[in-house]
Symmetry: C2
Subunit: 159 residues, 2 copies
C-alpha cells in the first residue's frame, strides 16, 4: 500500500531558514556596504523609513524592535550623513519626526544596486520570478500590507 503524498504539513517553520539566509546575506552585505559608509542595520532603518514614511522615533524603535537608546545612535549616524532628517513634530514638539531625505533615498537605491551581486550569490538558487515573489512576501510580512503597486514609478533611473 503506497502512502499518498498527502503532505502532512511537516511543521515547516521559516524562522531558522530566515535566520540562516539573513546571516549569509548580512556577512556579504557588510563588505559591500562599507564603502558607502553604511552597515546592514542602517540599511534596514532606511528601508523601514522609506516604506512607512516619517514617523516618531519611538515608533521606529518599535518597528525595529530595538532599544530606543540604540536607535538614537543609529539615527545620529544617518543624520550626520544627511540621509535622514529629524523634524520637530508640530502637534507635539517633544517628538521628532524622522524622515528620509532625498539623498537618503538616493543612497538607499545606490546601496541596493550595489547589493545585486550579493543577492545573486545568496539567492542564486531562485530565478527572477521567484525572487520577486520572495520580496513580495517579505514585504507583506513586514508591513502587513499585501504589496502595493505604485503607478508612480518615478524610480526610473535605476542602476
Amino acid at each position: 500500500m503506497v502512502e499518498l503524498p498527502v503532505v502532512n504539513q511537516p511543521v515547516h517553520r521559516s524562522g531558522a531558514l530566515l535566520d540562516h539566509l539573513a546571516r549569509r546575506m548580512r556577512l556579504r552585505a557588510e563588505s559591500v556596504l562599507a564603502p558607502l559608509g553604511l552597515r546592514p542595520r542602517h540599511l534596514v532603518t532606511l528601508t523601514v523609513l522609506r516604506q512607512q514614511g516619517g514617523c516618531s522615533q519611538q515608533a521606529l524603535s518599535g518597528t525595529l524592535e530595538m532599544d530606543g537608546t540604540n536607535v538614537v545612535g543609529l539615527l545620529n549616524d544617518l543624520e550626520r550623513d544627511g540621509l535622514i532628517e529629524r523634524r520637530r513634530s508640530p502637534e507635539d514638539r517633544r517628538r521628532h519626526v524622522v524622515v528620509l531625505t532625498d539623498k537618503g533615498a538616493r543612497v538607499l537605491v545606490k546601496a541596493e544596486c550595489a547589493l545585486a551581486a550579493v543577492e545573486d550569490d545568496v539567492l542564486g538558487a531562485l530565478d527572477e520570478t521567484q525572487r520577486e515573489t520572495l520580496y513580495g512576501l517579505l514585504q507583506q510580512a513586514a508591513t502587513g500590507v499585501p504589496i502595493v503597486c505604485t503607478g508612480d514609478d518615478a524610480d526610473t533611473e535605476q542602476c
Copy 2:
C-alpha cells in the same frame, strides 16, 4: 504625458527585509526556545543538519558561514544534550561526521511546534498558502534544491 506603469524594477532587494524579519523572529524565538535549552542558532544548526544529513564539521562551518571555533562550541552544546552525535569518519579518521540523533530530530520538531505562535505573530500578514510558499522559497534558496516532495512523510505525529 502619462508615464506608463512599466514597472521599472525598483531594485527590490530582499536583504534588508530578510534581516528585519529574522530579527523579529529571533527575538521572540529566544524566549520560546529557552525552556527547551535551545537558542536560535542551535535551531539553525539542527535545521541544517536535518536537511543535509551527516557532514564533516568544517563543511558545517562552511554552510553556517561561522568560524570553526564557534561551531565546536555549538556542537558541544548539542552533543551534551544528545541532539547530535560526532562519529569518526571511517575513510578519514580525523574527521567527525556530525549527525542528528533521533532525539535531536524529535526535539527539533517539538521546537518548531512551540514556535507556531511566534510565526503566527511575525508572519501574521501572510495566509497559510503564502507562508508555505515563503518556506519553499527560503528552503530552495538555502539548499539550492528546488524543494523536494518526499513521499515518505513519516512525520505524521506532528504537533
